[in-house]
């Protein structure tokens, strides 16, 4: 226990990597996920089908399997990213499916009258989506997106299995050295809880400020 506490700085570094991974992965997922939603609500059938397929494929593959494929499969095809980049990309690609579903639910929460009104004043599909529907949709999505972010944070721990030295990776290293699984993993748990609690609190505040009163 005593030795483990000596390595708090080392663990904090891992927490930093976890945060970096999560933020990059989440940002990518939001951009790609929103794009997927636009595809799925668009009037063009092939785009809708493609969007649906993407979401179904990625939601039906375990993230770990996807990570292993990405890290060890792609180099055989001649493409090698660093382990950190690989994991950030995987998180973004994987959670884009979940973001897409959250955004779609948000769009469904916007009353149909809004879309009809936008059409009635002559807006195109793009204009009504960008100016009328998505701004209202995003305001109802704070909590669902916060949940996706928490998912990204917790899933980033899978990186330890493919050699990324994030919080769990460093915890396992300390455990290996001192054979003290309980204190090391307790510390790691505290790290994750700190991040997710902060996200939850922040999301609650944002939601209150942004809610559309109808």
């Amino acid at each position: 226990m005593h030795e483990v506490l000596h390595h708090l700085g080392y663990l904090a570094g891992g927490l930093g990597t976890t945060l970096e991974l999560s933020l990059l992965g989440f940002a990518g997922a939001v951009v790609l996920g929103t794009l997927l939603t636009v595809m799925r609500v668009s009037p063009i059938l092939p785009l809708r089908v493609l969007g649906t397929l993407y979401v179904e494929v990625f939601r039906n593959v375990p993230l770990l399997a996807f990570l292993v494929l990405f890290v060890f499969g792609l180099p055989d095809a001649g493409i090698t990213y660093s382990l950190f980049t690989s994991e950030a990309i995987c998180l973004a690609l994987y959670f884009a499916g979940y973001v897409c579903e959250a955004v779609r639910a948000g769009i469904n929460a916007v009353p149909v009258g809004q879309a009809e009104a936008a059409r009635a004043i002559g807006m195109t599909f793009g204009q009504s989506l960008a100016l009328v529907i998505l701004p209202q949709a995003f305001r109802t999505m704070v909590q669902p997106l916060a949940n996706v972010f928490i998912g990204v944070v917790l899933s980033s721990s899978l990186g330890a299995a493919v050699g990324v030295s994030e919080l769990i990776g460093r915890t396992q290293w300390l455990d290996l050295q001192y054979d003290e699984p309980v204190p090391t993993f307790l510390l790691a748990t505290v790290g994750y809880v700190l991040i997710t609690l902060a996200v939850g609190l922040l999301a609650g505040r944002l939601q209150k400020r942004m809610a559309v009163r109808r």
Binding site: T52, E56, V68
Partner: protein, 354 residues
């Protein structure tokens, strides 16, 4: 199975697995409901391929028959009178006298059940690997566990439960398995949780690199390099000691570490020499350099709650050391990949923790 082919197949599987998502998109453009149905199935196929790949990765470097690149004299055992198969060695193995099985002991429980519950692996070349054709477990660990089962029950009946470095101690402690044969390095920390008979084999950490690499020949050369090893293996700590400036990558499986070296993510891979030799046997792209730089005494894991088990298994080890059965088994398993005559068996109790 010819290992080279195995490698190709897993590479092709990988391409297919990645292609499945895109291909599904193209096919699905048929129509709403049907497209979705296909999409679901495609997703499952992709998941299946992914799992198959994960399996292929762990099974990398499967039991080949070619000789080691570094040992031209490869199969020196062939033709000599000592060339037994594993099955022959086990068939000739001794059975314990009835007086050795005291009532109510660990041995008596095993004898009553008629089967030895073994914790191990089925993907470790030379030590315990399932032959895909016969379904039999082949290797030094597998052969020893069969000999121990025969010693107790009169027939080589074992039942394998797969264990990992994380679960070995727990499965012994809670009685899921009677014993663990899994290239299990004896350490004082582990000995606090389980009892170790043996050591029955001496290995040590060695270095695996690409065949064309000539800059790494000893542990000190690893400083400043990226080195892969299995997380939770003792090698990760040894690396810290022998090459403190090396950048360590921890992967879960042997196959992943090998892939990391082949793909250039890591400059080298450090683990027990026996396991590394198993990896390079089937792969001309890789080689093992230098001699082992640590000592890894392998022990037979036994429950600490049954103290009589350790003395009993140690007595059995002494028997097969003395009558040459141990050496014959070495020749039939590890000896098919490493040239030369069998080493002298390690002294029982010589390892710290045994």
């Amino acid at each position: 199975m010819i290992p080279q082919k195995n490698g190709n197949r897993s590479a092709r599987g990988r391409e297919r697995g990645i292609g499945a998502g895109g291909g599904g998109g193209a096919i699905g453009v048929g129509g709403g409901g049907r497209g979705r149905g296909r999409g679901g199935r495609r997703g499952m196929a992709a998941a299946g391929t992914a799992l198959a790949l994960a399996g292929a990765l762990t099974a990398c470097g499967g039991g080949g028959s070619s000789s080691l690149p570094s040992s031209p004299g490869g199969k020196s055992g062939a033709g000599k009178p000592s060339a037994y198969t594993q099955a022959q060695v086990v068939a000739a193995a001794p059975v314990a006298p009835a007086s050795a099985i005291t009532a109510g002991s660990w041995m008596a429980k095993v004898k009553k059940r008629g089967t030895l519950l073994v914790g191990g692996t089925d993907s470790s070349a030379m030590f315990s690997q399932r032959n895909p054709v016969s379904g039999q477990l082949e290797g030094f660990d597998a052969g020893l566990s069969q000999m121990l089962a025969k010693y107790i029950t009169g027939k080589p009946a074992t039942k394998l439960s797969l264990v990992t470095v994380d679960t070995r101690e727990t499965m012994l402690q809670n009685g899921t398995v009677d014993t663990v044969f899994a290239t299990y390095t004896i350490t004082p920390q582990r000995a606090q949780k389980v009892a170790f008979a043996g050591p029955y084999y001496e290995s040590g950490d060695a270095i695996l690199v690409k065949a064309g690499n000539s800059t790494i020949t000893k542990p000190a050369d690893l400083n400043g390099k990226t080195v892969a090893t299995e997380g939770n293996s003792t090698a990760a700590l040894d690396l810290k000691k022998f090459a403190p400036k090396a950048k360590t990558l921890l992967f879960q499986e042997d196959g992943e570490c090998v892939a990391a070296v082949k793909q250039g993510r890591a400059d080298a891979y450090v683990l027990d020499q026996g396991i590394l030799l198993g990896d390079v046997v089937s792969d001309p792209q890789l080689k093992v350099v230098g001699q082992p730089f640590t000592q890894e005494p392998y022990g037979i894991g036994l429950p600490k709650a049954d103290p009589e088990a350790k003395a009993f298994v140690n007595a059995w080890l002494k028997t097969i050391y003395a009558d040459g059965e141990w050496a014959k088994l070495w020749k039939a398993t590890v000896g098919t990949k490493i040239a030369g005559s069998p080493p002298a068996p390690p002294t029982i109790g010589s390892a710290d923790g045994s």
